[in-house]
Symmetry: C2
Subunit: 254 residues, 2 copies
Amino acid sequence: MIKSVVFLLGVFLFVSCSQHRPQKLVQVSTIDALLQGVYDGNTSLQTLGKYGDFGIGTFNGLDGEMILLDGHFYQIKADGKIYHPESDVQTPFASVTNFEPGKEYPLNKLSYSGLKATIDSLAPSPNLFYAIKLKGTFEKVKTRSVPMQRKPYPPLVEVTENQPEFETVNVSGTLVGFYCPPYVTGLNVPGYHLHFLSDDKNFGGHLLAFELKSGQLQIDQINEFSLKIPTEGHFLKTSLDEDLSEELQKAEGE
Amino acid sequence: MIKSVVFLLGVFLFVSCSQHRPQKLVQVSTIDALLQGVYDGNTSLQTLGKYGDFGIGTFNGLDGEMILLDGHFYQIKADGKIYHPESDVQTPFASVTNFEPGKEYPLNKLSYSGLKATIDSLAPSPNLFYAIKLKGTFEKVKTRSVPMQRKPYPPLVEVTENQPEFETVNVSGTLVGFYCPPYVTGLNVPGYHLHFLSDDKNFGGHLLAFELKSGQLQIDQINEFSLKIPTEGHFLKTSLDEDLSEELQKAEGE
Ligand SMILES: [Zn+2]
Ligand SMILES: [Zn+2]
């Protein structure tokens, strides 16, 4: 009798222990470290994938833009092409979550600023985190990537001064990213930070601009933020007590 | 045979699942919200105690200073006395962790600035979090508490302008608190934030100054920071995009 009780307990525990999909934004390292050239990866995609199935970031050596969508990693390199990185590839900076699909808001004829205003009006408060997914057809999308860097790594603003930019028209795909509250200054990008991936997986990158024909918007409210801090390498010696808001605006702004 | 396998699996899972003591700094709400009068509790001590056995904070309505030591909560009220809050009491702001005892550093004849310099020299990097515990005998300890507030809640700097301060001599007890890296600005107190609790549980509070006779210092390095964000109440409507470093220095400085 005891063994059958524990038999059920074992199954219950196995199911609950493994099925527990934490609802939080998990971030590796900080944006201010990335701004100052901390491009050495510290977390493998295999590990990152355990924290979520949806997100954005970059790769070891700043080798392109990352998109994590439906549990798959995509790497948009400086040549504008999309690659499928191996699970042992490392990231120096990324933000991921388990995207909980919720209500869908149909949107039409919208640009980046229009999307921000729409989400601002739908979101309960500017002091929470939101995962944002917009799947649709676009008149036009403009993105950028960043080229792999050699050591000694230059600061991010120097890299993005000559960032390769890409533009395409009449494309279907998905906007993937986050809204972060103002108090993440120094940690992550306050406000909106979105990437784009076309359905045919031929076009993508860090989003600069778009004109939407029509699409479905999903907003996933996130009530917990978790920062995984690198315990070795350049991160530990980098000075992280300056206000780099201006550099951030240059590097990540539209 | 299968049942005995699952029997062991169940025991293993039960042990590993329940024994998993996450090694992170778990924080409820933000210091900038507290600075602006968000004093309504949002998390019970019962819940907070699941996140750790060591930490500091305050209580609903700013009713005194919190110390969590060896899994027990203590409340130092504005009368200078120490109370034992019930588990359903709520906190509007607190930081806790599971303290992992490690190396002990014997210290003698030291003041607050001396302690900071010592920890700065022992800590591998200013960019990580550290839980700090110093158990010893003190020539002198000076603390403060904060009085319960009525609505409409005043900002913290107004409250601490008339903070009750306490001083004692020849006392044995424990310093409890954290060092946070500079990038927590807006979220928590960058640098050192310590509270004091006497062994006889008759004296304590937010630490202002001390003279140590002799004691044992323990530093617990923490590589993950987790922010639990209030999802209701005043937090959601409070503007959290200003730089309140000056107010913080006034309210939490020595
Ligand atoms: Zn980006
Ligand atoms: Zn305090």
